[in-house]
Amino acid sequence: MSEFMQVLISGLATGSIYALAAIGFTLLWQASQTINFAQGEFVMLPAFFVLIGMHVLGLALLPAIALALVVSVVLLGMVFKRVIIQPMLPHGVLPIVMATIGLAILMREMVKEFYSAEAQPFPSMFSESTFNVLGATVSYQDVGNLIVSAIAIVALQLFLGRTRTGRCMQATAQNPAVAEILGVNIQRMVLYTFMINAALATIASVLISPIYLAKFSIGEPIGLVAFLAAIVGGFNQVRGALAGGLLIGVIDNMSAAYLSSEYRIAGPMILLIVIILLRPQGLLGTSEGRTV
């Protein structure tokens, strides 16, 4: 029982971080039909901004994280949207997919070139001490990760549902043409979405890097998991991505613990296939009609 609890809690803690990346994924899709295959690298890179802030500029951890957040929102949000997505958007989804795959490779290789191919230690915001719950040892780090992810997601939901800007963003996602007629500045709303995605990726990066270590190649598995989580949960729903992220975190850990570590990737993949067969729109997704 205690082992089960242990695996469950660890799974939820990492799953909540996957959820952040997955939510960003669905946001971009809803706002601008962008499938961002560089999402994993978007999570990998901010950790290096933090490290540069700490080691090159000599900042403490929290100011370095603030700096990384600003740099990420500018580079991975605004510049990414203006330079890569905007010119490609009129040509459909596929060119964007190709461009983001290319961007992912570029980001990996640049980190390798400028920061070496070696893993770097990354400080945790939370204490590494532990306490006991129902026989399971829980670390403050896991709890901290869960809480920070939860706060980020709740804040995002409140922003989207309760503020004028948030509702304009939703309107843009649901029907850009009508939103524009009603006076919503669509381009601005799409830009906000990209900035929010970059901020979510930065939070995910800061939370996951103490566990996974900061390394150029760490984005690949995270990107894959975020993609899976988004599909499993429903590609067009923020809460679907949240559920998908948590589910995959738990199933990944459960299959590693109770099947074998060789099949740990297989667990989430089988889940994906089953869900696509039974519920193509995802667990919490709504089916979308295609228009011509």
Partner: protein, 376 residues
């Protein structure tokens, strides 16, 4: 004036001719410069580069300068094989590397077929057990180090149940099999046997299994980055039984990446720059001055490899690959003769090495040598 120029030109041409006529000995270093083994390959290559510069500054080998070319295997077995062939095509007299056993087991066939001596940093037992007359190690195979660890578990810690975490590749399987055999022979029960994948990021489930097994000690046999991740997770889940490892677990890079979670781990180390021997201390100092980081066992393996190559060529007396390989078999080098070999070392007929080793504990982020174990 014109005559002076002509004279200068003649002299220059003459110098050029003598420089060109002196032969260089080409060495091909194939190592993990990127990919999951980058930490390992970089230390190995840096030490070899330093060794080559020292040897050349001291007049080279048999009067010839060494010319080192390094190739990046990307920690990929097939790439390493292609690059070993490329190094041979480029005229390498001898091949250094690879360090990852999974790569070595594949690329050593290339040097064997073409009769090129190859000195590797790999530790999987299988490498020297295939009857390849051209393969040589620069550190122990796992079957040499595991008996020392099993003895320590039984006599030093008095353990009767142990859990094993190992990486599912050539290196991990070789070490795992040797370890399980040695502990079982000594009456220690293996209560959890947990394999993980190369570059695995999440060790929460692995650690939950190790923890739940009721083991009195946990033996970790993973690569550097994965070692750091599992140590952090062991710490996170509050595991308090002794954590024991072989060389890799006690690597400086692991200690740096794992931070406080590394304190208290113990293990057997084939080579460590913290050893009390003056030659090793001197090497460690030169290395960190040159590269700005602390040499680990992979750096020491590389350094031993390049000086083993130099000594073997000198003792063979000529640039004959077969003769160099013959010399390396059953070669013994003493520190009193070649200080840069770091520790007295012997090679046997299979290319396996034998030398002293150390029992190390990590205290406050530093590795402390607790004991020196005799060669076996």
């Amino acid at each position: 004036m014109i005559r002076n120029f002509a004279l200068a030109a003649l002299v220059a041409a003459g110098l050029g001719a003598t420089a060109a006529s002196a032969e260089t000995i080409k060495l091909g270093n194939v190592a993990e410069l990127s990919g999951s083994g980058a930490t390992v390959g970089k230390a190995w290559t840096d030490a070899i580069t330093m060794g080559v510069e020292e040897i050349n500054a001291a007049g080279g080998v048999l009067g010839n300068q060494l010319e080192l070319s390094s190739y990046d295997s990307q920690t990929d077995a097939q790439t390493s094989r292609a690059l070993v062939q490329k190094a041979i095509d480029d005229g390498a007299f001898l091949i250094l590397g690879t360090v990852y056993s999974g790569s070595t087991i594949v690329n050593m066939l290339v040097t064997q077929q073409q009769g090129i001596p190859q000195i590797v940093g790999s530790e999987a037992p299988a490498i020297t057990q295939k009857g390849n007359p051209f393969i040589f190690r620069s550190s122990f195979g796992a079957h040499k180090s595991m008996p020392k660890i099993a003895d320590y578990l039984k006599n030093g810690l008095g353990v009767s149940k142990v859990a094993v975490s190992w990486v599912n590749n050539e290196f991990g399987k070789g070490g795992h099999d040797a370890f399980v055999k040695e502990v079982t022979d000594r009456g220690i029960e293996v209560v959890a046997d947990v394999s993980s994948e190369v570059a695995q990021a999440d060790f929460a489930a692995d650690v939950a299994k190790l923890k739940g097994s009721g083991a009195e000690a946990i033996f970790v046999y993973l690569h550097e980055e994965e070692s750091a991740r599992i140590l952090r997770e062991l710490n996170k889940q509050g595991v308090d039984v002794p954590i024991v490892g072989e060389t890799t677990l006690l690597n400086q890079k692991v200690v740096e990446l794992a931070g406080e979670a590394a304190n208290g781990i113990m293990g057997h180390v084939g080579l460590t720059v913290d050893a009390p021997n003056p030659e090793i201390q001197e090497f460690g100092k030169r290395f960190s001055e040159k590269y700005g980081y602390k040499a680990d066992h992979n750096a020491m393996k590389g350094y031993v490899a390049i000086y083993a190559a130099k000594t073997a060529i000198e003792r063979a007396g000529e640039l004959d690959r077969q003769k160099v390989a013959d010399t390396l078999h059953s070669m013994t080098v003493k520190v009193s003769e070649v200080p840069n070999i770091l520790l007295d070392v012997s090679w046997d007929e299979t290319g396996e090495v034998s030398r002293e080793s150390f029992l190390v504990e990590i205290q406050d982020g530093k590795s402390v040598v607790k004991d020196t174990l005799p060669a076996n």
